[in-house]
Subunit: 311 residues, 2 copies
């Protein structure tokens, strides 16, 4: 599971940071790929990464502000131009459908693959596939804005074949029962507890993506015990009032969420374009004082989230 | 008058060429600025030029394909963010209004300056200010696509003050009459022909911007006798059928328009992303064989069109 930051700036593109987009890739699962937000210019940022648009299966939009949205129609068209034929699911606030349909219609963009648009009606589950469940909750950003929590399904234990054979159970259809049932009855009448013949299952990874918001209870809930929290950090701590007025968070507020939610790692993104290098480092240092496992995203930085070896 | 190419590629952004946009600046007239087309990422390209969004007074859209349009909402929002308060006029095909209004509404973008949207109803004049007239004609691109001809108003001759004084006409309100009338009657009864007391007027510059199109009569008419013709050249000459099928022009076709229209200079733009450096040079060479004053635009190239010293 890896996270490629395609744009880490707020509001307007800057030379150093483009507006917001984050790719979440699953090389361990057929190389599928999701996007979280899609600011203007995202498809050009992708050219400098290993992200492949044809592998996209879902795009999650946190909210409809332009710096998170205006790159979406271009991505949709280019994905078609590159030959994609597989379903793409778009998830975001009410209004996403009108925006996408109007943009495609007026620009004469004909997609050669199906899209499904899901407008979020309420907090809760919004997406599920073989390996993940995604749930959402509304944040506090003036305009409707959603955070996402991505939970990997637990990875079941593997059959301990040697142990089964030592107990006289030879390979065959019965091995399937050891994966799906609690108890298995052998032809000779013995009853075996399946967990005795499986390695320990591994807990799935948990990630929270918190887009634009003031600090709020929903952010804390979505982030709870996460392995990775990606949180907006538009402002430094000395711009607390500005952050509040514009419905954003400071670095310290993001770090406080990380600490209270007891996450393992925090990545700060969505920095105001007012901050040059020195301010950016200071912003990170402020967060680290509260939560030492804080990191600062920059455009094209990639973070890997490895699977836990045990629960 | 200068032309800054902000994007010179077709269809999809490439590393070397972003999708289409061209800034036309008037340093001789208060630094006003126009854009022709506004592909995704144009506002970020602007960061690498001397173009200032606050100085924009008009944006002309040739057609609504995404590679010419999807950067428009971002430009509108950022121009406001940068403090612009002056009117911005948007001109383009029917559908421009719905696209702009939908994008601004759904993204919650509130502009702190007025915009006027003019959807083109028919060929002819579409815009005029103190110094220029702009007319348009429909091209041949499958989707409705407009070319533009920009005609600078003739620059009137200047008063020959020394000659007036030698004839006993001292500075005063009467000098105004020499600029506005054909004949002036002096207090002593003499009648003077004003053209004898003015330097020669200078012919305004004529530019044609021909966006996506097959070669067509409208392109030829708009380009007639122009000082500068900017013409799309998506394909090389060996892709003639492809150009026709996709409603585009080859380099040779663009050069033929330039030659037939008897323009002074041709700039080719809107190149297919399939072409690497060698093909780009070959594309230019093909055009030069037909029309020697051919040039190839690249991203961030700037062309100056100086005022003619005489008619
Ligand atoms: Zn926002
Ligand atoms: Zn086109």
């Amino acid at each position: 599971m890896d996270f490629t930051f395609l744009g880490t700036g707020a509001g307007m593109p800057a030379k150093e940071r483009n507006v917001t987009s984050l790719a979440m890739g699953f090389p361990e699962y057929d190389g599928d790929l999701w996007l979280f937000d899609c600011g203007e210019g995202t498809q050009r940022q992708i050219l400098y990464t290993s992200v492949r648009m044809t592998k996209l299966t879902a795009i999650f939009v946190t909210h409809l502000h332009g710096d998170h949205l205006f790159g979406l129609p271009g991505i949709l068209g280019s994905r078609s131009f590159q030959g994609a034929e597989t379903l793409l699911t778009l998830i975001g606030p009410v209004g996403l459908r009108e925006y996408v349909e109007t943009s495609l219609k007026l620009s004469g963009t004909h997609l050669h693959y199906p899209i499904e648009i899901r407008e979020i009606g309420q907090n809760g589950p919004v997406y599920e596939n073989d390996h993940f469940q995604v749930e959402t909750a509304e944040l506090d950003h003036g305009i409707q804005s959603f955070g996402y929590r991505i939970t990997e399904k637990d990875i079941p234990g593997e059959l301990l074949v040697d142990k089964l054979r030592m107990n006289g159970v030879e390979p065959g259809p019965i091995y399937g029962e050891f994966k799906s049932k609690e108890w298995v009855t052998l032809p000779d009448g013995r009853q075996l507890k399946t967990s005795d013949f499986l390695s320990q299952k591994r807990k799935g990874r948990r990630t929270a993506i918190i887009g634009d918001t003031r600090p709020c209870a929903s952010a804390l809930r979505l982030a709870d015990q996460a392995d990775l929290l990606v949180h907006e950090s538009t402002f430094r701590n000395n711009a607390l009032k500005l952050a509040h007025d514009y419905h954003h968070s400071t670095s310290v507020q993001a770090a406080e969420i990380a600490k209270k939610a007891n996450v393992k790692k925090l990545i700060l993104t969505h920095l105001s374009s007012r901050y040059q290098k020195a301010d950016q480092l200071a912003l990170l240092a402020e967060a680290k004082q509260i939560f030492p496992q804080s990191n600062l995203a920059s455009d094209f930085s990639v973070f890997h989230l490895v699977r836990q070896s045990k629960d």
